[in-house]
């Protein structure tokens, strides 16, 4: 009956019109995302092969010379090492400390847990660049509150120039970074803990398992897949610290906090004669590194899926 109601030819124009609408709906994304994400990714490769001194100048093709120069620059390797140090130090502290705290805050017996969560999450929503500037003052060697407190407690009578000396600047930056993004990892863990059904705990309690045994034999194994995802999200985030570092230390003192993004920024925007091709080459290398991390991420997720399937 339906066939009789709509003649066979009617389906085709409708499908064609649907296709038209589909692409109409995709147009804003194709245009905006294409122009401001896909094109820049591809463009970086092209620009990295040129000698190009500023957005007003015209680039000239010079082959892989930029790459040769970047790879030979000790400053590039130093910034690469600083980026890695940032990641290797910040991520484990962040992931493990938030896990412990999340377990405590997840217990319904914990008083005021919502309030604590709010307080710990607060730095996450604040503007990183502004926090970076405020921290310059908080860590000021003469009148900053941190040094005033240290002096009051008799811990450092002369004050510590946390951000002004090479030996402490990176550590301080990492500390502020962990403080700033602590809440986000905490919320990841709390979400992960919510996926453990309360009946499981109930059953464990009835079987006479104590709090520590429940944690060890029930909670931890169930959290394992989340550990992989949360660690990788944290790694991804720790590679992008431009806002904080530029506003807090500007990469100094003596380049001791110049992570890769600041290195790229310095050559492209802060130099008297910008070298956009050179900076692009550094950016491409950084991008390839991120890709590698992403690839490891996919492999790790697949491995845990398989492990979960086997269990």
């Amino acid at each position: 009956m339906t066939v009789a109601l709509s003649p066979p030819g009617a389906r085709r124009p409708r499908a064609a019109r649907n296709t038209l609408f589909v692409w109409l709906f995709l147009t804003p994304t194709v245009l905006l995302y294409g122009a401001f994400t896909v094109y820049p990714i591809v463009g970086s490769y092209v620009y990295s092969l040129t000698d190009w001194n500023g957005f007003d100048a015209s680039p000239s093709f010079i082959g892989v010379a930029n790459y040769r120069e970047v790879l030979a620059d000790p400053m590039f390797w130093s910034s690469f090492r600083l980026t890695l140090t940032f990641m290797v130090v910040a991520v484990p502290i962040q992931v493990l400390a938030t896990l412990l705290l999340a377990i405590v805050l997840n217990s319904p017996r914990m008083p005021l847990r919502k309030l604590f969560r709010t307080a710990l999450f607060l730095p996450v929503v604040t503007t990183t660049a502004i926090v970076g500037v405020v921290m310059q003052f908080v860590f000021d060697p003469a009148s900053g509150p941190v040094n005033l407190a240290l002096r009051e407690l008799g811990l450092a009578p002369d004050g510590v120039d946390f951000l002004g000396q090479s030996s402490t600047a990176l550590g301080t930056a990492i500390g502020v970074y962990v403080w700033k993004w602590f809440g986000i990892t905490l919320v990841y863990w709390l979400a992960a803990l919510q996926t453990v059904p309360s009946e499981v705990y109930e059953a464990a309690r009835l079987d006479g398992a104590g709090a520590l045994n429940t944690l060890r034999y029930i909670t931890m194994p169930l959290l394992k897949p989340f550990l992989v995802i949360i660690t990788l999200l944290s790694i991804e985030a720790s590679l992008q610290v431009f806002d904080l570092v530029l506003t807090m230390t500007g990469g100094g003192p003596f380049y001791s906090t110049e992570v890769i993004e600041v290195y790229i920024y310095r050559w492209a925007f802060a130099a008297t004669i910008p070298r956009l091709g050179y900076a692009s080459a550094a950016a491409v290398l950084f991008g390839l590194f991120i890709c590698l991390v992403g690839l490891l991420q996919l492999l790790a997720i697949r491995a845990t899926r398989r492990a979960r399937g086997a269990a």
């Binding site: 990714i41 620009y47 604040t126 926090v131 908080v138 009148s143 919320v187 993004e261 492209a268």
Partner: protein, 283 residues
Amino acid sequence: MTRTTWRGTLRRLPWWLAAAALAIGCLIWIYPFLWMVAASLKTSAEVFTKGLDLLPADPAWENYERAWGEAQFGKYLLNTVIVTVATVVVVVVRCAMAGYVIARHDFRGRRIVMGVLVATLFVPAGYTIIPLVDLAQRLGMLNSLTGMILAMSGAAHVAAILLYVGYFRGIPKELTESALIDGAGFTTVFFRIMLPLAKPVTATVTVLTFLSTWNAFFLPLVFTFSRPDLRTVSVGMLAFVGENTTDWSGMAAAATISLLPVVALFIALQRYFVEGIAGAVKS
């Protein structure tokens, strides 16, 4: 009876001790913000002589006048509001539309579109900034709020599309089929049925986009190099301390003005913030 309550209290004691320790910890945790608000109400002399005291002798509101007018934070705040609101609207509309067609329609090129999106899920800003600025300049959009808005709504936001895809996929076919039989067109189905149904996702996307746009720094920084009047609060802040290194209370007032809207919104809509961020792990 009294014995059981006693025992209950005793059993609770470790939790209350932990809570007390955490309360002190949390106070230290948010101390930088408390210090900032306190400093914004102190006179310049008080900031240096009474650095640790949280209460100023007499609130010095003129710091806010100075930050708002002289340091132009009133203007910067307006710029930030304009850029954030416009970006959120563009992102929600474009991501919902893209997510809808990817989830509900089989068209040629769908796998390619999806593949490109997933492949570019994590792209750091430092990586794309040079070609992006170059393109913006050639289109004549550098040094304008419109350009900043378009660039910010075009950069990333893949996660938002994927959230919509996931949500729209889960909506039963019957809902749209009956509407189609009633003669509803493509756009009607989307705007009248699908988009209203996706309110939870829209809330999450709005909150997350608001957060990332309000707090953006790299892009607004390079887009306003030659137009200081178009700065957002985050860029204005860096410029302010670059020019006035000794005006601590002015700096604190400017920072408080800049952070207050986002903190207020967070406290009012905390549920959406937390759920939006937690969603990243669950999916």
